[in-house]
Subunit: 176 residues, 3 copies
């Protein structure tokens, strides 16, 4: 198998809520190739979430094809692996979906990280920082932020690049 | 119109609570000129806040002149635009004040960002990162952190420099 | 007194929950010397905490000797000061322990920062970012995050290096 420059490149973009992660990820994906594939993990459980999905969709245009993958990210990555860059938005919702479905999120994270080595087209993941506030009083919230942090670490290890988004602007964390 | 070095420079400093943003901002402002003008958005609604304002004031001395502007930042910037550097502390409280007064914070943010191009003297904004904790259970808190993140992105776009403060020390985010 | 390279070096590592701070700190400590000394501030008040302590211990092996110091960090640093690097994990729990015991945490922080100048062997501190979420509704939580931020600033000032951990990867903040 030939190894082409930029082929298979994997990028993780993290940051707080409304730090501009998705916009940055969309720009990075389109810089890697047009059209690009948007792999959405969001499920419209309520109005707040469907409003947010609609807002994200309104920012994307004919440059994008959308695939929905609330839980089976590996399937979605395999199915879309060709030459077009993929944007997975986002890992935190994917984790939420796995937990709500009572799936083994640790095994799924490990498998997702391992899958990246077999991907030929670029993939950009968006995820959330949820661990920099005060310790939540709620045990479930503490368990979730622990899980989210571990997912971020595991995928960051497997990715070629890691970016931290601050007020819409990226800081490169990896490679250092 | 002549363009002088350092004239009109705009800087946004963000970070978590007690990350040393205000101290850093005060140092940066005085490095740009003395005396400097402190544009306070805080309103003393309760003892906790008045204690905090007093603490901030005690750190400033004869090098500073204070202007209060809970909501009309554009007015305060225009009125103080000369040669002295201005420090606006902080955008997160300004947003809170606009929301409490039921003003259109999105229009106000857009106008504030646009105003920066017309300012001759430097202006340094302090703001807060509020989006890196667990998703708040409270819908109002979620709406506020979304708004705060959008204000930060919009003003960061309009500023020449963006700094992220960690444990009292600045990381430069923009220009990269 | 001779000043040896690396002798007495002090490092502060901060980041959100599950950002990989402890793993990074352990790697840094062992890079400075083997075996290393783990100064644990954790106290097993409940099952959640004892599980977390067990997890941390399982990651360490014969390369480590453990000293428990829930509150008297200066005593522990003096007692262990020789040639072996020390890892203090973590300052946020130390602050919690001081507050629960009704001790003067500000004086203790000041004394700890001053002590660093007298230490001959390296010391690495781990601490938590707790101020980047939404403002807590609870006044005690607000007071704690203020105190935690001040401890981080004070110790960061006294340390030679400051690192911010993102998804398991370090960003150098100081020296800039």
């Amino acid at each position: 198998m030939l190894c082409h420059d930029r082929m298979g490149k994997s990028i993780l973009i993290t940051g707080g809520a409304r730090s501009g992660k998705s916009t940055l990820a969309e720009r990075m994906a389109l810089a890697l190739g047009r059209p690009a594939i948007y792999i959405a993990t969001a499920q419209a459980h309520d109005t707040e979430m469907s409003d947010r999905i609609a807002l994200h969709q309104s920012r994307r245009d004919a440059d994008w094809r959308t695939v929905e993958a609330p839980r089976d990210l590996i399937g979605a990555l395999r199915e879309t692996d060709g030459t077009e860059p993929r944007l997975v938005d986002c890992l935190t919702l994917w984790l939420t979906n796995l937990m709500l479905a009572d799936e083994d999120w640790q095994a799924a994270t490990h498998a997702l990280a391992a899958e990246l080595a077999h991907q030929s087209a670029p993939v950009i993941f968006v995820t959330n920082e949820v661990g920099a506030g005060i310790v939540p009083e709620n045990a479930l919230a503490r368990a979730f932020r622990d899980a989210a942090g571990l997912v971020n670490q595991r995928i960051a290890d497997a990715c070629d690049e890691l970016w931290f988004c601050v007020a819409g602007h990226p800081l490169k964390v990896k490679p250092a």
